[in-house]
Symmetry: C2
Subunit: 491 residues, 2 copies
């Protein structure tokens, strides 16, 4: 299975899809830059999320600072408890996560929240050594993953931190947004943006990084009204893919059943799971490869009353892309206590602290997974069958040759399209070679300009998925691309 | 003139357009959060930039890390010289920028690059005291504005920094992008993203912050081909607004003249200035309020051969929104030297280090300026006349009353539109009050659902700018909004 993982890494490196940041200066582990194809695909995933999650939920968006004052993380609990178990090799001084080392040796899941002493005991019992040099491991320590900063010219020590999750901006600004957005509860607030964690050992390229992007929605609601859900009826027959506690298999369970059998806390959460799964179906991921894994109490974040990890089957196994958490009133309560600001709301003469349901989607893993599952081979050459609306470019413009005015004509076609569409121009190497390259990058349409084009103002269009070709006028291209965007067949 | 500034601040605070980040926890100066209207407007400014700058230039985009290893900033020179003159009050311990203090007292521009001794001398000569408590000021120090970080569990001291400008990601990854993007020079690479500067005294809300967003394009080109510009002919009669060195007034100078009179380094730079100015015209800023200010050698960044600050006249005076810099081969040369990686390219059998022209646009100032200049009054109430494509919402849906099924009908209309458009639903306060609120937020269309709607499936649409109203079927709304987006008159 590792084959697909390696294949994507190779393609990524060869085509500059993603690569270590500042490689020429000796990169730090866990930091990745995205080239032009990735940057476009990621933007389109965010656009799709905005349509299928943000707008579908009737959510508003906000944009919060990445740097937040220390007190925010006293309130959130991160300064106290956002730590991973760290062991350092006494010989080569390399650092490792104790839970991951033990998982590799024991082939079973190890909770990261065990005590330092418990980790030391397990390392000793199982005679775990440094995987790098075989040396003896030191004592386990708890390493806080917050990245501290000193803001202002006269401050000493850390007075601010990079946020480790986007939702803290939403909680800290909730009351200002609630008071000014003129929306009654339920109020979903969404945000896409960067977060940062000082991971002990980043690994597997985009799957565990120190700088990453989240697409988060926090839905604030009155727990008494958890069953008020306007959209519930419309989607009640939609089948959720649930892996329930204590069961081995994933079951198709309708939204209605999930509610009626009390598998979820109410009608609204059942609908919110639909919104999450529907987004990933639109990313092109097949139902068979997705599931909501219900988490047991000791595997959930301590504040969560109900957690469904949305996972997708990739070459690295089931990979968590989304945490769906019923965070209750934990966040607003703690921010309220630490700040001394009342964060309760009054609606219909009832005063209460809103509860929160969270849909926290990792963009990097979504991007990685979408690519891995879209990547196959045709005649032993890579083919990236992305949905058209996620393709990095709508079309690529290819002059047959780089002379005799053919390239000039191709550049005119490019100019015709460039403002309204994502198009690329490429005149390097043979046409056949270029077709293969843009098949591998998922570009749905190749437009070839040749000698005939000079006389007839026409061109050949070629379909990525079928390799079908047909001749059209250059002036028809805008309408063809518009049709393609609407999902129509243009061949 | 300060009136417009205050008016926007008041509106922003009252409507939650922007506000200090984490206010409930005691915000740090220079950090601002953006609420739903701002978040939408900013996204649309970025979309407009993508069309009018990125795509118009045929640029590709990239997305680089915000955290970069120390060596990047040894190469860029930031660690050595990115410092502002700092003075601290000996009595109240407040910090100030020496150059800004002197500017306030002497009412003239003071170069920030003067020596520490020179600042001390000027402070003494002019008897400058702490503006806050009147106390004596200490000696001037040079304060580096880079925000340092310790990445990894065993590192000591700063081994990484938050980037102070997005372009450093582009320079550090240039070679990887050049080799994999299959584009010959000129190659414009663009990026939108956050940057960070530990400003001594952030002020004027969004105009000088510690965390901000840039929309940058770095155009890599062969200096010998600076006059090769396919688009030059098409725009040669476009009038640039130039404030030339030694002249008081802004002149209209055509793109062709700017080139012919050697006011710019070549045909390409003349075109690039057009691209910049055209974008701001599309933001709705009138030509009379914009200018390119040519910078003298000692006012330019030391690496720049030619600099045009694009400025807009706001209530705070002429405000710099864009730096257009001819950075020559300075950046690639230093990154090459410090990294030991050859960053020269070979094209047409010529080996050379590409030159760079930069169009560095500040999103926060662009956002601020666009709002300030769009804000006026009608009958003493604020009216925000944003271009429709920059409006936070295409339409707002307003039920006349919150009962008798009128609100339900309005929610159905909202559901009809919500996936394809930016729409908002609002049922609070009277219709008249709501019209005023959304006029002030720049929403071009208000849709009112009333008792008649229940019988006829219709609604009243109202134009923000003329307050004209007409009756249409609810089912017509999608087509009306599509027409509006295309710029057609729907009244």
């Amino acid at each position: 299975m590792a084959n697909e993982y390696d294949r994507l890494q190779t393609l990524a490196d060869q085509r500059g899809i993603f690569f270590p940041a500042a490689e020429i200066h000796g990169s730090l582990a866990g930091f990745w830059d995205f080239g032009h194809t990735a940057s476009n695909i990621r933007r389109k995933i965010v656009d799709l999320w905005r349509r299928e999650v943000v707008r579908r939920l009737g959510s508003i968006e906000m944009e919060g600072c990445l740097i937040l004052p220390k007190k925010v993380f006293e309130a959130s609990g991160h300064l106290k408890s956002f730590a991973d178990p760290l062991v350092v090799c006494t010989k080569c001084k390399r650092s490792f996560r104790a839970d991951k080392l033990l998982e590799d040796v024991l082939k079973t899941e190890i909770p990261e929240a065990l005590s330092k002493e418990k980790f030391d005991e397990m390392i000793k019992e199982n005679n775990v050594k440094c995987p790098s040099c075989g040396g003896a491991l030191g004592k386990t320590d708890k390493f806080n993953m917050m990245m501290g900063l000193t803001v202002g010219p006269v401050a000493e020590g850390y007075n601010a931190y990079l946020r480790p999750e986007t939702c803290q901006s939403i909680f800290a600004s909730f009351m200002k947004i609630y008071k000014t957005s003129r929306v009654s509860l339920p109020l979903p607030i969404s945000q896409v943006g960067k977060s940062f964690r000082n991971e002990i050992s980043p690994r597997q390229s985009l799957l565990r990084t120190r700088e990453f992007t989240q697409m988060e929605t926090e839905i604030f609601f009155n727990p008494k009204n958890i069953d008020d859900c306007r959209e519930f009826e419309k989607v009640k027959d939609y089948k959720l893919r649930l892996k329930l506690l204590g069961e081995d298999k994933v079951k198709d369970v309708t939204v209605a059943e999930a509610y009626e059998k009390k598998l979820v806390s109410g009608k609204s959460p059942a609908y919110w799971l639909y919104v999450c799964q529907n987004f990933f179906e639109k990313c092109g991921i097949t139902r068979e490869k997705m599931r909501f894994r219900e988490l047991e109490e000791d595997a959930r974040a301590f504040y969560s009353k109900e957690t469904w990890d949305f996972e997708v089957l990739t070459s690295t196994g089931w990979l968590e892309l989304v945490a769906n958490n019923y965070r209750t009133d934990y966040d607003l309560k703690s921010h309220s206590e630490v700040s001394g600001t009342d964060l309760s709301v009054t609606e219909n003469e009832e005063k209460f602290i809103p509860h929160v349901w969270e849909i926290s989607i990792g963009l990097d893993r979504t991007f990685y997974t979408t690519l891995e599952l879209a990547l196959s081979e045709r005649d032993k050459k890579p083919l990236l069958s992305l949905p058209r609306y996620l393709a990095p470019y709508d079309a690529v413009i290819l002059p047959l040759v780089r002379k005799d005015g053919v390239d000039k004509k191709a550049k005119e076609a490019f100019d015709l399209l460039k403002l309204d569409f994502d198009v690329k121009y490429d005149e390097k190497q043979s046409i056949g070679k270029r077709y293969l390259i843009y098949d591998a990058l998922g570009v749905p349409l190749a437009v070839t300009i040749d000698y005939e084009s000079l006389e007839n103002d026409d061109c050949t269009i070629r379909d990525r998925d079928t390799a079908k070709q047909r001749r059209v006028k250059i002036s028809e291209l805008p309408e063809i691309l518009r049709k393609m965007r609407r999902g129509e067949d243009v061949f």
